[in-house]
């Protein structure tokens, strides 16, 4: 446990839908069409320490997947600095950048759309490892066997194609492929959301075992608070592109601070919560194209005041290690 493995400073990611030719023509005749800009990630600061499991929670459209992709290097950040082991990734030499790309691996929600259906499992898992010189042509078979055993797959299945496996097994193939390049940091984007309950438990246990065996660091992106609570050391809650609260898992679940976190925790269905009276949060998640001014959550917030409509609350420390972005904290 030393230093931040990945650090984000004021990272933003915008997606711009530029005007097509018809719209440009409309504008030359005095139309007032504007480019649509989605602020998927809006000035996020985040640090993931070595060996830590950070849960990133939010509802659809809050930018959690985009943030995961920025960290994994799939998207470039529009603004801000991403540092890996203290090095700004835009200033890395090509050798460093390659090392970074191997160290950070991503596991996706739907294994069927992230595995090449025409490759055998042996190629899927072994291809990258061979290319990067982690295994030679002679040792590749042993190497793939080792990876398959590690994630609980039968090595004799390595000549099969992805469609010959069940959903849970496919997800294991995806994990084995990520592990094959010996990463230190895994970004799991809803990695267990598509699996059946009993298979989910198997994969959760696998993630925990791998963490112990290989000392991995995780960013675990999920909408499922139960799973995040189970796995994470620290939880980050996002709403419409902004981080609204971050806290150690136990503290967050015991005493959520931000009204959105409170609402979210209230909605989590739990087995020991019978015949309950549902008291839903009002309203929809606003469109990220046109987010509400001030605090993004104010139209749905039961405590919203005049100030929340005007100015954006900043993320401030409310207790050691706990941060929350809410105007309510400034009063007391």
């Amino acid at each position: 446990m030393a230093g931040a493995m990945v650090e984000l400073e004021h990272v933003s990611k915008r997606f711009v839908k530029s005007l097509d030719i018809a719209e440009k023509i409309v504008n030359t005749f005095g139309g007032k069409l504007k480019e649509q800009v989605v602020h998927a990630v809006d000035k996020v600061d985040l640090a993931v320490n070595d060996g830590e499991v950070v849960g990133l929670v939010g509802e659809s459209g809050c930018g959690k997947s985009t943030l995961g992709r920025v960290i994994a290097g799939i998207h470039a950040a529009s603004d801000g600095v991403v540092r890996f082991r203290g090095r700004d990734i835009t200033e890395m030499s090509s050798a460093e950048a390659k090392e970074w790309a191997l160290q950070v691996q991503m596991i996706f929600q739907d294994p069927m759309s992230s595995l090449n259906p025409r490759l055998r499992v042996r190629e899927i898992i072994g291809e990258a490892a061979q290319y990067h010189g982690l295994a030679s042509a002679d040792t590749l078979d042993d190497y793939v066997d080792e990876m398959m055993l590690r994630v609980g797959l039968e090595p004799s299945f390595k000549r099969r194609f992805p469609h010959q496996f069940s959903g849970g097994q496919r997800q294991r193939i995806g994990i084995a492929r990520a592990l094959a390049v010996r990463p230190s940091f895994l970004v799991c984007d809803e990695a267990i959301a598509a699996l059946d309950v009993s298979i989910q438990a198997q994969v959760i246990n696998l993630f925990m075992r791998l963490r112990e065996d290989l000392g991995l660091t995780y960013l675990f992106i999920s909408h499922d608070l139960g799973v995040v609570e189970h796995l994470s050391d620290r939880v980050v809650i996002m709403y419409l592109g902004r981080v609204v609260e971050t806290a150690p898992t136990e503290a967050l679940f015991k005493e959520p601070n931000h009204p959105y976190t409170v609402a979210l925790l209230g909605e989590v269905p739990r087995i020991d919560n019978r015949g309950r009276k549902f008291t839903p949060v009002k309203g929809e998640i606003p469109s990220p194209i046109d987010p509400p001014a001030g605090c993004h959550f104010h139209p749905r917030c039961p405590h919203a005041m005049e100030k929340c409509r005007m100015s954006q609350p900043i993320l401030r420390e409310i207790a050691p290690g706990r941060y929350s972005a809410c105007h309510l904290n400034e009063q007391s």
Partner: protein, 327 residues
Amino acid sequence: MADSQPTLSVEDLKTYFFTKGGVARAVDGVSFSISRGEVMGLVGESGSGKSVTGFSIMGLVDPPGEVVSGRILFQGENLVGADDERMRELRGSRVAMIFQDPMMTLNPVLRIDTQMIEAVQAHEKVDRRTAFERSRDALGQVGIPSPEERLSAYPHQFSGGMRQRVAIAIALLHQPELIIADEPTTALDVTIQGQILFEVQKLCRERGMSLIWITHDLAVVAGLADKICVMYSGRIVETGAIDDVLDGPLHPYTKGLIGSVPSHNKRGEVLAQIPGMAPSLLDVPSGCAFHPRCPRADEACRRQPELYAPVQPGHQVRCIHPHLEPA
């Protein structure tokens, strides 16, 4: 409930699919009943036959699938073998279904008002104005703001949660006595799921509507249902009042399912996982279908156990070695 006759009673229902690879016994001898105003959770993993049970009740099983035996008694009337004419009368007016994906229910090229008015007029001879008002009120009931304006929108102009509300509103148009909901909140966000559960719960309480909630998520059922049926490989393996089943599961599969859900007091611990995976319906293990994955299985499990109530009436289990010791 006070009514002596249950709203729906399913007796020994068998729905098989005759495929090239063999006969898939998707539903293999399922029995349960629901009283007025009761909410039943039908829980199982993919391929357990929970959705096919719902489709069988609605008469929506298409070839190669077929309801081969059993009875489905809706208000005393047997729906198995009922002709298409009769089923069409019942479907949508007295029994309705809500699907996981609302785009399955909604026609993407028609406006919401067209679809809803059509649904009203399909079962009742009313003029367009009345049908329009009924549709508007139904949308209002499921919590859609400014329903009058929203009626003239197309399905793609709604968010996922709103579309599911529209689908629920259509199901409610004729005040059905029974609603079958097939994983309606699985694709939705937590706060939106909470809103839908709130509306559904309110409607059941106010109208005495019976509800079958089909899901894989025990936690959702825990908050909503009065009783629960757990399915595995086409059979009900455990059924009973929600508290009895979740607090004292008898079947090793139910116990395993409950153990695999992360909860407050187990943070960071290894979850009690069920080894292996659900068998293919074309190749169901003989005897108790769960025995290859079961920690308590022995020779005796090679024959098929019957549903019985070892502890208290109403809490039935299909297992030779149930968990009788206190949890």
